[in-house]
Every structure is written in structure tokens, then in C-alpha cells.
Amino acid sequence: MSEKLFSYTALFNTPDEIIHAAKAVADKGYTKFDVNTPYPVHGMDSAMKLKTSKLGFVTLFAGLGGAALALLTMGWMMGIDYPNVIGGKPFFPLPAFIPITFELTVLVATLSTVAFLLFFFFKLPNNRHPLHDTNYMKNVSSDKYGVSIEAEDPKFNLEEVKSLFESLHASVIEPVYFDEEEVNYKPKIADGKFLAFLAAVAIFVSVSAYTHLNYLLYIVPFNWMAEQGKLVPQSTNDIFTNGSSMQTPVEGSVARGFIPYAFKDKPDEAGKFLVNPLIPNEQNLAVGKNKFNIYCSPCHGYLAEGDSRLRGQFPNPPSLHSEKVRGWSDGRIYHVIVEGQNVMPSYSSQLSREERWAVVNYIRVLQRSLNAKESDL
């Protein structure tokens, strides 16, 4: 045992002795000394001349912080970030916030106090302290009362301390030495094994987080109602032969508002009997223009001059400004939209009945713009 001395310790048998001893040691002017007892002994604070603890301030400020945190968070969430009308209550229902504010005050204050106590005031964990695993510690942990004066104390003098303890009738007096191994222990930050462990932790956390967030949360029961037992348009379905949720109407049936077109293959009759129900006005001409530009212009061009944008992939249609088309009645043009003509397909599934008439009106406007009557000028 050629180690460095940490402290000199004395053990006492009764609480009265230890109070007396603590007082004596403190009176001698030692500062780096400690009294170890199995339980808090009354009057030890004054005997050791300890200053009042500052811990209360930590509690106070942490508590206030907790209260403010709670109120501000709740106020922001319910009043500012996403205000919802809940039960007709105002967006900042203060009375309803009080319980949680109180709870958070208590929670933050308590946790901070304890954390400060253990990690800042006591600097725990501290298992390497030289007093541990000594005979002294074994005794003070159970039924003895001990005083330990550290060698580092500026007033420390081995003989004086010894005689002091003896004069106090200590039952056991013994030195405590530093453990060389503990003192010389140099932690390796970049320990290979630890780094590997860290990497393993990181990978484990990462993989499990990924599987949970991107995978498990997308299966039952978490995805309930994301897919429901109902048929949404354009979805697949096993019940029907066409594999789709969408069915075609039964042949011969007539839907409300969709009496089949009466002039199938009868362009001339359509021209004769079909009457344009829309009187051209700003509103339906705007619709007509919009629909013409969407559906007709790719081939007919924006001005209906037959200037296709389809890069010659589809035969260019004739201009709609021809004598022939200008001579057609509205019904006749409508017929072409419904039935198509030559290579032009039917547009009945893309244009509703009203839209078709609006397009007819707009074509009339286009025709008029290039072949204005004198009265228009």
C-alpha cells in the first residue's frame, strides 16, 4: 500500500459523539472534511457549519418555466396554430388550461430539482470515490458514524488529525488511500468496441424507426379506413367480369337527363330540328371558348383555321371558316360534335350537352371574326 493518502478517517459509535466530533473538526478550521452517517443526524448542518442549500432556487425557476411552457404551448396550439371551434368555447380557454399548467409546473420543477441535486450538486454517479469499499464505508453505511478529513485540506497534518481523532475518542482511526488503478484510469473516448456498439445502436434505431414509420404504420389496424369496404371510382374489383368497379349501363335503359340522341346518323334532320337552347352571352361564350381551346384546338387550332398542333400525326381538319360550315345550322355543327365526322371522333363523352352548345356558339363567334358582316364593322 504505497498509495497516495486520500484522507484520514475516524469512526464513532453514537450520534452524540459524531456531533461533537464534527463540531470539533469544523472548529479546527478544516474545510475539506466530511461526516458520513447511515442516516441524516439532526443538528449536523450547524455542527459542520454548512451553508444553506441553494437548491430551492432551482426549483422555483424550473417551476415557473414549466408553467410558462405549458401555458404558451397550449395557447399557441389551440389559439394560433390551429384554432378550432370546440364546444363554442373561445380560442384561448384559460380555465381549461389550468390543470395542465399545474401538472407541468410540478413535473418540471421536480425533475429539475432532482436532476440538479444528483448530477450538479452531488456530481453523482461517483463510485470511484476512494471512500468506497473501505472498512470505514462499510461501517458508516450500517451503524457507525464517521469523520473523514481529506489530505488535500490546506490545514491537513497527519499527526494533528490523528491526535484530534484520538482526543475525540474515536473507536477506529484509519487512513484511506487512493486506489492507483482508479486514479490512473484514463477513459478512451474512441474505444473501438464502444464505437462499434454505438454504430449498432444507431443502425438498430434507424432500421426499427424506418420499419415502424414507413411500414408497420401502413398495415392493419393502423390503416383502418384508409381502404374501405366501398367501391371508389376507377378501382379494381373482383366481383365484376371487367375487373373494374365501374359498369356500363344496361342497353336500352335511359338515365335521368340523358335521353339518347335522337338524330343518330341523321345529320340533316339534326340540322333541321335541333335548336340551340343557349343564347350567346358572355358567360356561355367564355365556357365555349374554354372548351373549344381544350377539346377542339389541338386539331382545329385556336382560331379554327385547321392549324393542328399535333405535328402532322393526325390529318389536319379543314378550316371551320369555310362557306360550308358557315352555312350549317347550329344543330348541324352540334351533330358533328356528338357523332364525329370522317376521322373526327365523337366528343360526347368529353363535352356535356350544354358545353357542346356553348362550343357551337363560340365557333360562330370565331367564324364571325374572320368573316365579319358589314354590320359588325
Binding site: Y82, P83, N84, P125, N126, N127, R128, H132, D133, E181, E182, Y185, P187, F194, F197, L198, V201, A202, I203, V205, S206, A209, Y210, L213, N214, M225, A226, E227, Q228, K230, V232, P233, Q234, T236, N242, G243, S244, M246, N293, I294, Y295, P298, R309, L310, R311, Q313, F314, P315, V343, P345, Y347, S349, Q350, S352
Partner: protein, 191 residues
Amino acid sequence: MKKSFLDYTLKVRLPITLFVALLAFMITFYVSRPERDGIGYQPDQPIAYSHKLHAGQMKIDCQYCHTGVTKGRHALVPSANICMNCHSMARKKQPEIIKLTKYYEENTPIPWKRIHKIPEYAYFNHSVHVNKGIKCETCHGNIADMEKVSQMKGWTMTACLDCHREPQQFLPYLENVKMVQQTVQLVIDKR
């Protein structure tokens, strides 16, 4: 075991480990988020249809094919007869068009892969948005530039709320956009 090592483990290594775990979680969370939100999903389609060609170069309006977009809740993927409006003549010999023609003639619906989807418990109506003048690109990204379509933006409730809360920022082209925070409740997570 050395007591110093014990202390060191408790004081240094334990916090570091916890910190690393937290960091790993955070990084994973943020890195995997776009994937979770569906961003970048770009499946192979049965027919290699190019929006870039049709909508971009030929300037065919979106509504030419997506006929439902102003009329109802669903924008609708075009029925094959709309494709055949042109492709009854145009580029009939191209392999992709042959596929298309085959589907059409066999009266089989084309099984397009769905890219954009909101969960069925949420309600979104195309026509309400489009008729208010909101452009397709605002949510779908610039489809006209895409050879193969992929999802560009996350469609979480947050995404809806972002726009409804600050429409000016997301819809700069619209005049007189009002704060529509309240109406978002009509849209999301209802029924």
C-alpha cells in the same frame, strides 16, 4: 470491473448512447419522410405514356383527357376512347400504340398504376379547387415536363393545411385569395 469505468460508463457512455439513438431516430425520421409521404413514387405504367410529349410539346390541355376535373370530385384518368380520338390514326405502328389499340379493341380497361392517392377517409374535390382557378401544377408538380409521372409533393394533411393557411404563398397567381384556414376543416378528415 473498475469503478472508474463504471462511473465513466454511467456518466459519459450512457448519455452518448442515448444521444446517438435519438440522433439516429431523428435522421431516419426526416430522411424517410418524403418516401413516407409518397414523394418520388414513380411506378412503371402499362403503356409508356409521355406527359412531356402530349401536355408539354403539343400543349394539349390537361382537361382534354382528365375530363372530370372541373365537373366532380375525381379528375379521372381518361377512358381509352379518348386516347383513340387521335390514336385511331396517329402513330398507329408504334409498339406502345399497338398495346393501346389492343386494350381498346379487346375492351379491357388499361390497368394504370395509381400514383396519387389520398386515404379514403379524407375528402378532396378536384372541381372545387380547379374551378377556383388553382392550377394542377400546384399540387401535382410540373407534369408537362415529366416523361414518366412521379409524385412530386407530399399529400399529408399538413400539406393541405399549409396551402389553406397561406394561400398567397402557394398560389401567387391567384388574386384575392382569402385566408382559408377555416375551410380546411371542410376538406380534411371529415365524414
